[in-house]
């Protein structure tokens, strides 16, 4: 049970404080409700590039990192299709330094031409390192583009291509900041060896005077229901042939999300799970096989991905997966197996709260979903699932006309 207190500043900033007396550290997590899905289709990768610029100096503070390091702290951030999340960890005694820095960059950036020019290059190198120079680096560029025709999930957070990053302008940086980086679009979580009463005073001191700005109302185009099976064959200089199948699933705040997530656990969570036991070990068709969900806000993807074993025919690999999916469509998961999957879920909830920073992030992410307390009771959504729920969900998901299949063939 994670205890916390929540309050909202007059400018709309939501604040959550969790006291953990067992640690001398504090985690300060600032989540902004903006991600790659908020980008224009010809300016992709921008939310992530912007994340880099948040470290390039703010209106009153030339450098973000140095003062934090001087306080014994560290910082980083990540961008997803849905959110941009910034976090600092530092000795609890120096918490005010993090609040000073975070509040200043929430107020306004320095908007430096130099920082933009350098970070464009840095992000282009990040792109080259992870998406071009690495075997399979472009998988998600291709798979998202196949599975989504309309929704902004069709591009990855790094962006569709290098030129979108290279073309970014300072004017657009300013526009993006004004549109998305407002207190009312943010959640601040402070977790660690602190007292809520004194944290409140400091948060008021540094954040209350930030103008609330205009509230951003999101209106994204929905992905139309897929009507026919989609297929893409790629041939690349990679060591092993891979198979990807992506099925459209429900949005994050639906019961169906929990059914799909649990189905993916039945199929592939832990080494006793079906796909690994039957197709990797039993039939030796794959050397690696995984089923997982993309828990995105809007309708996400249920993905099955596997690396084919030596000399295995793609058709045999396809047939074997179809057979496993047919089983969950037609037969009820046995009670013992369902209980196993639920126990595993329960255990992973406990482990995910064992690190201070994860606790802070989880609180922010759940607050954005509607209530930070979901961190304490979401597990119940999993525990009440029945075998019949899973069978029904499998029938909704696993239809070839709801699926994008990609064969990623090795040229070697």
């Amino acid at each position: 049970m994670i205890k916390f207190e929540k309050f909202i500043l007059s400018n709309g900033l939501k604040v959550i404080v969790h006291e953990d007396a067992s640690t001398p550290m504090v985690a300060v997590n600032v989540l902004y409700d903006v991600g790659a899905k908020d980008e224009e289709s010809e300016k992709t990768g921008f939310a992530h590039l912007f994340e880099h610029l948040m470290f390039g100096g703010s209106i009153n503070v030339e450098d973000f990192d140095a003062p934090l390091q001087r306080a014994g702290g560290e910082s980083n951030a990540f961008t997803s299709n849905d959110i941009t999340n910034y976090y600092d960890t530092l000795p609890a005694a120096n918490i005010e330094t993090a609040l000073w820095l975070e509040s200043d960059r929430m107020m306004s950036l320095a908007f430096s031409e130099q920082s933009l020019a350098v970070q464009k290059k840095v992000v282009c190198e990040e792109y080259r390192e992870n998406y071009i120079n690495k075997p399979y680096g472009d998988v998600w560029h291709k798979l998202r583009n196949l599975a989504y025709t309309t929704h902004a999930y069709r591009w990855p957070t790094i962006g569709k291509n290098l030129s979108h990053i290279e073309d970014a302008t300072l004017d657009y940086v300013k526009h993006f900041f004004k549109k998305h980086y407002n207190p009312s679009n943010a959640i601040l979580v402070i977790a660690g060896g602190v007292k809520t009463s004194s944290v409140k005073v400091l948060v008021e001191k540094w954040f209350a005077s930030i103008p609330s700005g205009e509230r951003y109302i999101r209106s994204l185009v929905r992905e139309p229901q897929q009507q026919v099976a989609r297929f893409l064959e790629v041939s690349a200089d990679v060591p092993t042939t891979c198979l990807f199948k992506a099925y459209h699933m429900a949005e994050r705040n639906s019961n169906r999300f929990y059914y799909a997530d649990t189905l993916s656990d039945v199929l592939s969570n832990g080494s006793s799970a079906r796909l690994y036991q039957n197709l990797v070990k039993g039939k030796n068709l794959f050397t690696d096989l995984d089923a997982y969900v993309l828990g995105s806000d809007d309708a996400g993807l249920f993905v099955v991905e596997g690396k084919l074993g030596e000399n295995v025919k793609m058709q045999d690999a396809e047939d074997a997966i179809a057979e496993e999916l047919n089983i969950v469509k037609n037969e009820l998961v046995k009670e013992q197996e369902l209980q196993k999957v639920k126990n595993k879920t329960e255990s992973s909830f406990v482990f995910s709260n064992s690190k201070l920073l994860y606790k802070a992030m989880n609180l922010a992410i759940y607050e954005r979903m509607g209530d930070a307390n979901i961190v304490n009771n979401e597990v119940d959504q999993y525990l009440k699932i029945t075998a019949e729920d899973l069978r029904k969900e499998a029938n909704l998901l696993f239809d070839e006309n709801n699926c994008s299949t990609m064969h990623y063939l090795s040229k070697n």
């Binding site: 953990d20 067992s22 550290m25 209106i59 009153n60 503070v61 140095a66 003062p67 390091q69 001087r70 014994g72 702290g73 560290e74 960890t89 000795p91 005694a93 120096n94 005010e96 330094t97 000073w100 107020m107 306004s108 970070q119 290059k121 840095v122 282009c124 190198e125 990040e126 080259r128 390192e129 992870n130 120079n133 075997p135 001191k205 540094w206 005077s209 103008p211 200089d237 990679v238 060591p239 092993t240 832990g270 080494s271 006793s272 036991q277 070990k281 030796n284 050397t287 030596e310 209980q339 126990n343 879920t345 329960e346 255990s347 992973s348 406990v350 709260n353 064992s354 690190k355 070697n412």
Partner: protein, 426 residues
Amino acid sequence: MITDTTLNRKVAPKLERIEQPSIPSANEVDLPNCSGCYLFEGGSEDILKVEWLFPAGKRFEDKNITAFATSKLLVEGSAKKSSLAIAEQLDFYGATIRTASSFDFAGVTLYCLSKNLPKVIGIVEEILTEPTFPEQELALVKQIGKQKIQFSNQKTSDEARKLLMQKLYGKNHTYGRREKPEHYDALQLADLQKHFAQHYSVKPYVFISGKNTAQAHDVLKTMQLNSTKKWQADILKAPQPSKNLKVKKVFEKAVQSSIRIGKNLLDKNDDDFVPFMILNTILGGYFGSRLMSNVREDKGYTYGIYSGMRSLKDGGYLSIGTDVGSNVTEAALKEIYFEIERLINEPVSSDELELVRNYMMGTILSGLDGPFNISDAFKGLMLYGLDFDYYKKTTDKINTIQPKELQDLAAKYLQPESMFEIIVGS
């Protein structure tokens, strides 16, 4: 914009200087058939991590990949349970066993909810006493292993790392030896059985961390391990570094060059290790380091650049690494050497040193935050003949070191002509 009349945002809040982070202690307890057992109690959740560590890493193998394959196959079947039955039982209790082998050690780590330890401890006992090493599991490990080597062979960064290790320790040294697909083909079950019989029969070190470690210790006392051999001092094998300092390897399609620069250098037992760690932090050990500030934050040549020290039984090394755009390879090299020479030629400013002092104290504080971290920190010292006094030595040094000492260390250890330089790219 609203101007705030009471708050001066240009001035940083007052800092509290951490001069002496509280250093934990290791609670050593008796455990039959073990070389030592240590408890680290704490944390906010009811979870446990228990680690059994053996002198059974790569340095003890007769044939390439034996240590890795033995460790992989440990969980794949015991005399009492099939691989599936083991996996089923662990998954049912939400527990995980990770087996791993490094250059110097091999270990089995169990993660579970504290209340479930009695339900799964039997599995650890079985796999450590009667593993069966099934043939078909070895076949799978071979197939996966060969694919991983092929994957790794296509990555410039992996290639550069492997070349550096080869240069530092020599082709015939455990650390410098390269793994090839044919090594997998040559591997026999008998090799694994022999490796297990010889090296997992040594009394392990056991580390228990998390909530309710005392009860966990009681549970472990009921285990029947076959380990009887004394943990012997290691027979060390000196590195055989290459004479040829510079290597370039061409990957025609690469869009980046992977650069690795390094040398054989100090391990935790050397007196200069602690002060050198401070110098290394300044050079490339944190986000504000000179290499990161210059090569990434000023020039934009790379997504990241680091400099790090690694301690190994047969001697440590320094490694500086980065992946840079192909067209800026030479320019990036120039900046790396520029930063190294600047440390040799100019004293570090007191302001920068003060920042690094505070930063390092913060990392010590967070590195010792929570029982799992404390256990890992202790393990990293104990296995190399040290204990938590190392932290006292470190914090004292951080508090007192002066620019002159750092500059002398740079001159002593960082001469560019003493470094290996590996470049892999187009």
